[in-house]
């Protein structure tokens, strides 16, 4: 058990910089999740903490101890590798016994070893596989064995690299729930890496979003969900991804230009009033100054409600036509053409058909505004437009936006 502190962690592979000065503080016993797309540097971060990466700059402290120049075997960390890294010539039992026999994780009598192994394998549901070799296991069983090799030993920090990634969807959900309840997990400081936002939200005491070797945002699951720092974070969480529209900011109005170039629809462009406090902070960061600029509006598909009754005046209403309705069991995923913009919405209203006109409503406080965007950057996952509100003002979600009249609404 111990805290983990990382300062200015920089890692290079040849000329490629994998990590750009990561700063991270994980308190004793915390479950910290690092979320990011592949290639973001998640595994490198874990291996750097473990001391397995050469050419690392920066400071790593485990339980207050500076780890500079400390060999991996002296760091008292345990790691589950994404590739499992099980010893192929050893059985499951021998694999799990390996950390207990090294003499660096405390001294265990043979009876104590087998008792611990029995406990861990029972918890993970692989007790009956103890005599098998890794090649005789399924991927899910291998992954649980790799996890068991971590849990079987005491450590200051557990480092888990996508420990659920190769399980099938249902087993993953079940293991996610089990993982949360494991005593060892709740007592030991854990750094957990995943690309699955649901895992991150479900497991993490806090979540750090990593992109291109930089931590974009660190916060509780609630914070990263409700107050994404930029469009990249916003898109990382949620399936389907958040709808993003580029809008022109003029004074206190953000308006999405109607219908692209063709202006196919005369009705219902998306226009949002921006409170002065927000627009002030935005214009500071937006090129073009206070007079205007462009921002991005973000609406999560599940925040949109398909209206059946009269349109409420206290919510933003988008009118459009359904171009695609995918039925996914209880839910229907709609693609709606709103004044030339494609909007994704998720509803449980099974009556919606393709071609139907629909009205979608979203509470004002669920509309996110991202500043500083040079344009709509939905194309790549990098979020390069750095759509971030200036000066750290917590303006997203936007609360208290006055209803604006847009078009002939």
């Amino acid at each position: 058990m111990g805290s983990l502190s990382v300062r200015g962690l920089t890692a290079r592979y040849g000329k490629t910089v994998a990590l750009h000065g990561i700063d991270l503080d994980v308190v004793d016993g915390e479950f910290f999740v690092i979320l990011g797309p592949s290639g973001a540097g998640k595994t490198t971060t874990l291996k750097s903490v473990a001391g397995l990466v050469d050419a690392v700059e920066g400071e790593v402290r485990i339980a207050g101890r500076d780890m500079t120049g400390v060999e991996p075997y002296a760091r008292n960390v345990a790691m589950a590798f994404e590739s499992y890294a099980l010893y192929p010539q050893k059985t499951v039992e021998q694999n799990l016994a390996s950390p207990l026999r090294s003499g660096r994780t405390g001294s265990w009598s043979v009876a104590e070893q087998s008792e611990r192994i029995r406990q861990v394998t029972t918890t993970l549901g692989i007790e009956h596989l103890r005599g098998r070799f890794p090649r005789e296991l399924s991927n899910g069983q291998r992954q649980r064995t790799a996890l068991g090799r971590v849990l079987v030993r005491p450590a200051d920090v557990y480092l888990l690299d996508e420990p659920l990634s190769h399980l099938d969807a249902k087993l993953r959900a079940a293991m996610r729930a089990e993982l949360k309840q494991l005593g060892e997990m709740s007592r030991t400081t854990t750094l957990y890496v995943t690309h699955d936002y649901q895992e991150a939200l479900a497991l993490g005491d806090r979540v750090g979003v990593l992109r291109d070797g930089r931590l974009v945002q660190v916060g509780t699951p609630q914070q990263v969900w409700h107050e994404p720092a930029d469009t990249f974070v916003a898109r990382m969480f949620g399936q389907p991804e958040m709808n993003l529209f580029s809008a022109d900011l003029t004074a206190d109005l953000a308006a999405v230009p109607e219908g692209g170039t063709a202006a196919r629809s005369r009705r219902g462009g998306i226009t949002v009033g921006v409170p002065a406090s927000v627009s002030g902070s935005l214009s500071g960061s937006v090129a073009g100054g206070a007079a205007g600029g462009s921002v991005l509006l973000g609406i999560r598909p599940r925040d949109l409600e398909v209206l059946t009754g009269p349109e409420p005046s206290d919510r933003l209403v988008l009118r459009g036509r359904v171009t695609l309705a995918e039925r996914l069991g209880r839910l229907v995923e709609l693609s709606v053409d709103v004044a030339g913009e494609s909007v994704i919405a998720v509803t449980d209203d099974q009556r919606v058909r393709e071609g139907d006109p629909v009205s979608l409503a979203v509470p004002w406080e669920q509309v996110h505004i991202f500043g500083g965007g040079a344009g709509l950057d939905t194309g790549n996952g990098a979020g390069t437009a750095a759509a971030r509100l200036g000066s750290g003002a917590p303006v997203s979600p936007v609360v208290d936006v006055s209803a604006a009249s847009g078009g002939d609404r």
């Binding site: 060999e71 075997y73 760091r75 590798f81 590739s83 890294a85 090294s102 090649r135 296991l137």
Partner: protein
């Protein structure tokens, strides 16, 4: 009755039959020296220069080669030469393994400044002609008193065995996922123990294959012992050629018998170990 041919079904066309004939001819052509060697070894001294296939087979050549009579003819005891060869080659391979396995591991795992040059230098032992270094070696061996000794032979055979073992095993180590040793490090094992406990057992097939190849190359080496040994520590390759005589009579059938005897040990080693040669590294350690 004609049956319709299914896709992929074998068809006998003139081209395919022609190809088979060519292959068969090539097979016979390349195998003929071996056949001739066996036939020659079974011929008596009077028949040894006849090219007819008809002769009275005899095993007396083998007996002569291994007896004192053979030693009298060549002034080298062939049985002792066999033992010398076994000793030299096993010794050379063992020394190469002790030094070469850690070297191969280091070469496969770590890149450092000049690591490529070191590996190239080791490889260059293989493709530099032996005759190029033999004269200085001869002078050095005479000065150090290593001429015509087993230690001297084991030493010089390192030029043959070491590059093979290092280069073959390096690729085996490179194929091992480094995360296996990293896992061992995090389990609390030192790098040395991680190497001994995890990496070494997994390259056993590679060690067997490279050691066998090195043994065969060392066994067949001719130039080094020809120059660097006298009559007391002659290995088998040189001993075989003694039957061709140096100015005296050439005993072709005895040479053939000696060559066959000399070829047996590597053949037996290869047969006994061939499952390691065929078996790949299919382990299931890492996700496929």
């Amino acid at each position: 009755m004609t049956r319709e041919r299914q896709p992929g079904q074998r068809r006998f066309s003139p081209a395919s039959i022609g190809a088979d004939v060519v292959l068969l001819a090539w097979f016979l052509f390349s195998l003929f020296p071996l056949i001739w060697l066996v036939l020659l070894s079974l011929k008596s001294e009077s028949e040894q220069i006849s090219t007819f296939f008809e002769f009275t087979p005899t095993l007396s050549n083998f007996a002569t080669v291994l007896s004192d009579e053979g030693a009298r003819l060549t002034s080298v005891n062939f049985t002792e030469a066999l033992l010398t060869s076994v000793l030299n080659c096993v010794g050379a391979v063992l020394v190469s393994l002790v030094i070469g396995v850690p070297a191969a591991y280091a070469a496969g795992r770590w890149q450092y400044k000049g690591s490529g040059d070191v590996m190239f230098t080791i490889l260059s032992f293989r493709f530099a002609p032996e005759l190029m270094v033999i004269v200085p070696l001869f002078v050095i061996y005479n000065q150090l008193g290593l001429f015509d000794t087993n230690v001297g032979m084991i030493w010089v055979l390192q030029l043959v065995t070491m590059p093979l073992i290092v280069w073959i095993l390096r690729s085996y180590f490179q194929d091992l996922p480094p995360e296996l040793e990293q896992a061992a490090l995090l389990d609390g094992y030192t790098r040395k123990r991680a190497f001994l406990m995890v990496a070494l057992p997994l390259v056993r097939p590679g060690i067997a294959a490279s050691a066998l190849l090195a043994f065969i190359f060392a066994w067949n080496n001719y130039v080094f012992p020809l120059i660097l040994t006298g009559s007391s520590h002659t290995p088998v390759t040189v001993a075989v050629t003694r039957f061709l005589g140096g100015g005296g009579q050439a005993f072709y059938s005895l040479t053939a018998a000696a060559a066959i005897i000399a070829a047996l040990p590597p053949l037996l080693v290869a047969l006994s170990i061939q499952r390691y040669l065929v078996r790949g590294l299919s382990f299931g350690a890492v996700k496929a």
